[in-house]
């Protein structure tokens, strides 16, 4: 009885504190809203027509597309963005053979040590090397980019909500601000050195628009429209974030198939074991 009485007193006391000191002032504030309106960023990303090949439970990599996306990364993104966790040997997954990977790696320079003098130098990359960073350190990255650090791209599609579509949307998102939304948000402005992009959470992004028609010449002859390039590079960056994505889904089907079979067996043995004593309802 004492415990219950103490419980009731403590419960009523705690609730009184919550209601009188937190909830009532909160309700008063809620009833008198002073909501500053701001230009909200676009949370719903856009998707390319037809979607990505790797989407869905049966999705597979489109190797041609990954190779094109790699080309976009190499010729455009890699000027500012690193790819820290990806090694050149991983490119074999994109459909290149060993010799091609070796040759491709050699087109990149990575920091090394001169074997004769011991001095720091750069040397052509080997397949075991990881993609080099375009800047020696964060300070240099900031200095070159209006005080913003270009993020590493190896995990970018997993580090953002709906990441693949986010990358696709962001690259195509350098639109004009909507005049109606601008009118609603008096503080709206795009400072110099930043660019309006409604898919970026901060609305104004330090990265200038990158993709223009025919910016690059695809090795496979595909027409390099901005939509094509962003789709390809979003695809490539999905692969860099999770090289095991397709293997994961395939393994998943195998595991699920086994489990369905095992569970049916378990169900039948459950029914058989209980058959003798299962209750007759009613």
């Amino acid at each position: 009885m004492t415990i219950r009485l103490a419980g009731i007193i403590v419960g009523l006391g705690l609730t009184a504190v919550l209601v009188l000191w937190s909830l009532v002032p909160g309700l008063v504030n809620f009833a008198l809203p002073e909501k500053p309106d701001y230009y909200a960023f676009q949370e719903e990303n856009i998707a390319p027509a037809g979607g990505f090949a790797f989407e869905g439970a049966f999705g597979k990599w489109d190797e041609q597309q990954l190779q094109r996306g790699y080309q976009v990364y190499k010729e455009v993104c890699s000027a500012c963005h690193s790819l820290e966790y990806v090694a050149f040997r991983n490119l074999e997954q994109l459909g290149y053979n060993e010799a091609e990977v070796r040759a491709e790696a050699a087109t990149w320079n990575v920091p090394g040590i001169d074997p004769r003098t011991g001095e720091a130098t750069t040397q052509p990359a080997a397949p075991t090397d990881y993609f080099p960073s375009p800047y020696p350190n964060d300070v240099a990255a900031r200095a070159a980019n209006n005080n913003a650090i270009p993020p590493d791209l190896s995990l970018i599609t997993k580090a953002r909500k709906d990441g693949t579509h986010y990358v696709y949307s962001l690259l195509l998102g350098y639109n004009e601000p909507d005049p109606k939304d601008v009118a609603k948000s008096p503080d709206f402005e795009t400072p110099s050195g930043l660019y309006f992009n409604e898919y970026f959470y901060n609305i104004n992004i330090a990265m200038p628009p990158q993709l223009y028609p025919d910016l690059i010449t695809y090795a496979d002859g595909t027409e390099a429209t901005p939509e094509q390039m962003s789709e390809d590079v979003a695809s490539f960056l999905t692969w860099t974030a999770e090289p095991s994505l397709v293997q994961r889904k395939q393994t998943g089907w195998f595991v699920l198939g086994f489990l369905f079979f095992a569970t049916i067996l378990a169900f039948l043995s459950y029914k058989q074991v209980w058959a003798g004593i299962k209750p007759k309802k009613g």
């Binding site: 415990i3 419980g7 002032p25 995990l155 580090a159 999770e242 095991s244 378990a266 003798g276 209750p279």
Partner: protein, 459 residues
Amino acid sequence: MSFAWAKQYEPKSSFTKWMDEKLPIPRLVYNAVGAGYPVPRNLNYMWNFGVLAGFCLMLQIVTGVVLAMHYAANTVVAFGTVEHIMRNVNYGWMMRYAHANGASFFFIVIYLHIFRGLFYSSYKAPREMIWLLGVVIFLLLMATAFMGYVLPWGQMSFWGAKVITGLFGAIPLIGEPLQIWLVGGFAPDNAALNRFFSLHFLLPFVTAGVVILHIWALHIPGSSNPTGVEVKKESDTVPFHPYYTAKDGFGLGIFLIIFTAVMFFLPNALGHPDNYVEANPLSTPALIVPEWYFYPFYAILRAFTGDLTIPFTGIVLIEAKLLGVIAMFGSILVWFFLPWLDKSPVRSGHYRPLFNKFFWLGLMPCMGALFYLGGAKPEEPFIVLSQIATAYYFLHFLVILPIISQIEVPKPLPFSITQAVLGDDTPGSSSGGGTHPKPRSAVKDLPGKDSDGSLQPAE
């Protein structure tokens, strides 16, 4: 321990006879989860979750030990070693996704196990100790899961650690030095990451130890059941093996199908994208939230927005932060007092009309709201809603439960489990124990038969 009619282990081969004399582990298993443990025959699927929780603990320990072979607890390389596991270790991605999603599914199972206990009042005498040990296990799991989430050293790891360890700073006088001592610095850094790894490795084994006590305590009164009427005679029970091993096997299959479907096809759906960004103490994420399984308690923590002041004087008695911390810990500690707060002699919610209404129309929507609000942005109307839900949460356990246990008129209970299952309970109407019929003896009373405490319609 156990009932008079429990089957006894009989070693057959010379090896098992020798073993039974020297170290009777087969006998222990036989009595714990074998044919030697009589279990009420009417358990529903909600009674699967104890076994599933045990399975989850095993899964987490096995995958965790493998992950620890490839992980390094150092702020410089921790994030990179996790990516190393994902990319270079053979099937490392599978181990890590199994471990990360395994934690989420462990909590799904544990929450269902707890809510089962709340609805069927499994915490009542004679099972108080099982419940108390269960709350201890839950606290251990929360500590383990929190520290595990810090190990990848992503943005949410760091900022979550900062917020949660910062709670100790709310304690008056000793708060700040205590926080610095616990964290090993002014903010989580290498010292914190290292000790979190050490404790994250240790606590699962402590948990396993408490789980053994939990099961030991269970085997003294035996399992409860959906009617809440205690076992009275042999026909009320079936042996755990093969009846419940078969049923739990099926339940495990269903669980694994759902678990692997999420793990292989939506492995990051229950996580937070920010944790794929390496920890950066200089850049605060837009919204700091813990993992989903902490949302109810995080919502309670954030519900206290106003300092407790003496009105019109500006004197602060208790700061809002400390109130939130007290309420958050109190929200779990209140479970320790449940066996004594709810004094209704009837266990099962099915026979308690008032309790039933408050459970399904009060506590469950309240928990659902807290689960949602803990992950919502700290803005209106979510703050006001979380305050209402928090208020109901405490009122439910501390005020409503004690009062309804006094005023409620329970529905008539079945005389026995056998009657509840078969519709009548005349001698000879059921074979009891299933496949091993014995000559029926007169109904054997339990030692201390009045421990039931339930209302008997016949009386």
